[in-house]
C-alpha cells in the first residue's frame, strides 16, 4: 500500500518469546534504523514484504499522513491481521460507557493501533526491575484521626443532579 518516508522501521522478533533483548542503534525519537529481527519466526502470513521477520512501523513525531493505520506485524497491509483485537463491547461494559455508533466504528481500530505500538516495551530488559508506583519516594502519610472543618450538607449536595430532603435521588435499585 503506502509506506511513507516518515515511517521508520525497525524489526523485532515476533512474539518476543526468546527473551532476547536487542539494542536498537540510536533508538531515540523516531530512531531511523532499519534493523533486521533476529531469532524470531514470522506468523504474519500474506506479509507484503514476505520477510521472515515481522516489522514494526513506528511513525515519527512529525508525520504528514492522517488516518493511516500503520501496523505491527505487517498488518498494515491486511487489516485483519492486527495481533490483538480489543473486545470493544466487553471493555465498554467494564468501564460503564455506552459508545455512539461512530465511536464504536473508530475506537477499536485506534486502540488496536495503540496497543501494537505499546508492545515495543517487550524489548526492554525488565528482569529484576522493581515497578515504579510513584516518581519520588513517598511513604504513607498519616494524620491523627480528629474531626475537622467540613462541608455543609448544602455545599456537599449543591451539584447533585437530583435531590430531595438532603438526599440524592436515584431510580429504584431494589424491587
Amino acid at each position: 500500500m503506502y509506506i511513507q518516508e516518515s515511517f521508520h522501521i525497525y524489526g523485532r522478533a515476533f512474539g518476543g518469546a526468546n527473551g532476547k533483548r536487542r539494542r536498537l542503534n540510536g533508538n531515540g525519537i523516531g530512531g531511523n534504523n532499519r534493523v533486521r529481527g533476529e531469532g524470531g519466526e514470522t506468523k504474519a502470513k500474506n506479509c507484503f514484504f514476505e520477510l521472515n521477520f515481522s516489522y514494526l512501523f513506528r511513525p515519527l513525531p512529525r508525520m504528514e499522513t492522517q488516518n493511516l493505520t500503520f501496523c505491527i506485524y505487517c498488518a498494515v497491509f491486511n487489516e485483519n491481521m492486527t495481533p490483538e483485537h480489543i473486545d470493544i463491547d466487553h471493555i465498554a461494559m467494564l468501564c460503564r460507557i455506552a459508545l455512539t455508533d461512530e465511536e464504536r466504528k473508530t475506537i477499536p481500530g485506534q486502540l488496536d493501533t495503540m496497543l501494537a505500538y505499546m508492545r515495543q516495551l517487550e524489548e526492554v530488559d525488565i528482569q529484576d526491575v522493581e515497578p515504579t508506583l510513584h516518581a519520588l519516594e513517598i511513604s504513607n502519610v498519616l494524620r491523627a484521626d480528629e474531626p475537622g472543618e467540613n462541608f455543609s450538607v448544602e455545599s456537599a449536595l449543591m451539584n447533585a443532579p437530583k435531590r430531595e430532603n438532603n438526599q440524592i435521588i436515584v431510580p429504584r435499585i431494589v424491587e
Partner: protein, 487 residues
Amino acid sequence: MEELFFKSAEDLSQMLAKKSISSVELTKIFIQRIGDVDARVQAFLSLDEEKSLQRAKASDERRSNGQLLGPLDGIPVGMKDVIAEKGQRLTCGSKILEHYISPYDATVTERLHQAGIIPLGRLNMDEFAMGSSTENSAYQKTHNPWNLEYVPGGSSGGSAAAVCSGEVPLALGSDTGGSIRQPAACCGISGLKTTYGLVSRYGLPALASSTDQIGPFARNVTDLGLLLQIIAGHDDRDSTSCNVEIPHYDRILKGELRPRRIGIPKEYFSNGIDVDVRQAVESAIEFYRKNGYQIVDISLEHTAYAIPVYYIIMTAEASSNLARYDGIRYTHRSSEATNAIDIYFKSRKEGFGSEVKRRIMLGTYVLSSDHHDAYYVRAQKVRTRIGEDFKKAFENVDVILSPTAPTTAFKLGEKINDPLQMYMGDICTVAVSLAGLPALSIPCGFSKAGLPIGVQLIGKAFHEHELLSVAYSFEKAHDFIRRFPDL
C-alpha cells in the same frame, strides 16, 4: 512603547508600587483586552468581572493602608478550568461537569487569595487535560495567537494563549505529560512543571495521579519564580505533597551562583525533530557554551519507550480516576436513563468526549486481569528504567537541555483524527513527568513560518531554582520575550 497588557507581572507590580496605576485600573485593562481579542483567541471559558473588580478594589485599599500581601498583590491571573475556585464553574473542559460549581477552593487558589492575586476567569483546556492541542475541549477551540489557524498546544492551551495574547500577565495550568511546557513552547511564553510533590494538588481533579502537577505560566522567568513562590509548599490535604524547604526563587534567580554543567541527551535530537526547532535549540546550546557553561553529551537510553510507558500508566490511572464521574452524585445525569446502571452508561456516553472515552477504555484494557502484567506492570518497570536514566545523567550534569516539542504548533484539525500521532508530539516531555522531575520551557526562537520554538530545561527533583537561574541567563541575553503577537 510596550502595551501595558504585554508587560510582565514584575513590571506591573512596580507600577502599582509607584501608584502610576491602581489594581482596579489594571484589572479593567485586562478585562478590556479580553473583550477585544478573546473572540478570536477563545482562551477564556468564563470571566468573573464583578468578583475580580471587588478583589482589585480590596487590593488598592490594602495598598493605601500599607497592608500589602506580597509582591503580586493586585495582579490578575488566569486559571485553567481544572483548578477549583469556590463558587466558580469547574468544567475540566468536559460536558459531564458542565454545571458543576466548586464548593471549595483548591490549596493553590487559597494561596493566590492570601497573596492578593486576582483570579480573573476560567481558561479553556482539553477535556480532562487529555490532549496536546486544546481541541478536545467540549466547549471551544482555542487558537494560537501567533497564527489563528494553529493550535496553542495543550492541554493547558487556554492558559498559554491567554498569557501570550496579553489577556492576563500570569496563569496557572497543570502538567501531566507536558501540558504546561508544550503549550508554553507553542505560544512563545514561559511555563514550568514543578517537581512531583512541590505544589499541592488539593482541588485539582485527578487525571493521572502519579504525574499530575500544577505550575505557572508567565511572560518571563522572573514572573515564573514569583508565582511559584506563592503556590509551592507543603499541604496536609495532599498526601503526595512533600515537606521540603522552599528556596527564595526570585533572589536566587538573578544571583551569580548558578549551576554550570548542562547535559544534552542525544536521544532528544534525532531525526524526528523539525529542522527549525533543532536549529533554534542548538543555538541555545551554543549560547550556553559561549557563556562558560560546560556542555556535556549524555544519553537517556530509554527515551524511545517513554511514550508507550506514559500512555499505559496515564490511561490506567485516568480510567480509575474518572470512574467517579458516574451521573449519580455531582455530574451530568442522562435524562434517558431508566435505571441506576443505565445512569452510568448513558451519562458517561453523553458527558465524555471521544478522546476521554478512548483513554478510559485503553486504561481499562491495560488494567484488566488478562492484560495487567503484559502492559501495566511492564510499563511500571520500564518507568523505573526511565527514572534510572535521569538519575545516572544527573551524576554528571546539573541541568538537562532539550527541545520542548519536536515541532512548532500544528494546524487546527491536523491531528485530531489520529490520536497516536497526537501522542507522538509528547516525546520530549513525558519522560520527565514519569520521573517526577521539574522542567520548564522558555522561548528560544521562531520558525520560518513565524511560530515560536521552546527549549526545555530539566532539573533535579526540587531544584526549580537552578532551572530558573539557567533560564534567566538565556532570557536576558535575548529578546524573544519582547516579541508579541499582532492581534
